[in-house]
Point group: C2
Chain length 219, copies 2
């Protein structure tokens, strides 16, 4: 039996035991930016295409080698990672702490919901642009495959509570469930949330309660 | 009836209604430093005394006009507020995010418990010094007067859970109760925790459960 086969079996076993206990792996997202194909060209030059640095946990998503600088009314943040592939609309995800540094107040939003969100200036090596809206602080959420949704008994759009143990333990309310055949099981929080809960990479959280999705889209 | 008398009556009414509902006002502490009298002189000059900028919520405590710069192996943080009055041992309180900026990992500690905590260099206008230990990330806690302890039914050293509402709501576990006749009712968290829970200044939290104090002093 080769290494790949063994890894596959182990991964399957871990996945099954996680589901039994309602546990989800947690990943902290640092500030990052998704760029439209048009904005890639305006920031990096005509005909430019993003280059992969490494794969992310969600299928087909990658961290690009490229970075940009964010410029707000009060400050700049350099070396902000571009995620690929390029997609429809440019969206910048930062923490509230980053918002203080930049001098803007990003609303807490579900990825993709950028209407009326904050404006920000983005600087690349070959150009600079200002988006009127698109700067958000991503609402905490759990990506899961359609089969995970069935196992956990939750649906896309549900809001659940997730418990994190430890001396700095917290229970996160209003964690949005996002179900898709394209997703892989993982909870995403930002660095403020990871620090507040003292979360180490790879730590697990436990879904302890589901509640009705009556607050989606709030800020 | 004069304004002071009205304020006193209103404060007393608010205090009473808060206690009835197990609510506590929450304040987010930004990074700050407590200095020993000796270190005040080494950083600001011989015979120097701290000057009050404004009173803090806890009786006799004040934010001083003076600030220092923290210097870690990876970065500096300027304009760190000195709190007064000068007291026994120098202690620096930062967030985990600040720890990343400085390049050190402050342990989560109860104020005063600095044994084996992180080293940091402190720069003032007239001198610079390095403390071998004293850099911590303050464990979340609730100051309360002895009479509050009786009303809430908790004792000094207890760990409770505090619920914060809102779209970014959380329940904080292991919130340390600190009771003293010198304290005034207020929960203290750091900026990471305030951001993670989307807490606005003056927001209230609710003590929802007490648990045995079996984890005090952990990290």
């Amino acid at each position: 039996m080769n290494k790949d086969k063994i890894r596959e079996i182990v991964e399957e076993m871990v996945k099954k035991s996680l589901k039994k206990s309602n546990m989800v792996p947690i990943a902290a997202s640092n500030r990052h930016i998704h760029l439209s194909p048009e904005h890639v060209e305006r920031l990096f030059g005509r005909g430019y295409e993003l280059t992969k640095l490494k794969d992310l946990s969600q299928p087909n998503q990658f961290a690009a080698k490229e970075t940009v600088t964010l410029i707000g009314p009060k400050g700049k943040i350099a070396n902000v990672r571009v995620l690929g592939p390029a997609r429809g609309i440019t969206q910048v995800e930062v923490s509230l702490f980053d918002g203080f540094t930049l001098g803007v107040m990003p609303p807490i939003r579900i990825s993709g919901d950028i209407k009326g969100s904050e404006t920000i200036t983005i600087q690349g090596p070959r150009g600079q642009l200002t988006i009127r809206e698109g700067l958000i602080c991503a609402a905490r959420h759990i990506h899961m495959h359609t089969s995970d949704g069935e196992t956990f008994g939750v649906q896309d759009g549900d809001l659940v509570q997730v418990k994190v143990d430890g001396f700095r333990g917290v229970i996160f309310s209003n964690v949005l469930i996002r179900v898709s055949p394209k997703y892989k099981l993982e909870m995403h929080i930002d660095l403020d949330e990871a620090n507040a809960a003292g979360i180490k990479n790879g730590q697990l959280g436990e879904i302890i309660a589901a509640k009705s999705p009556n607050q989606v889209g709030g800020e």
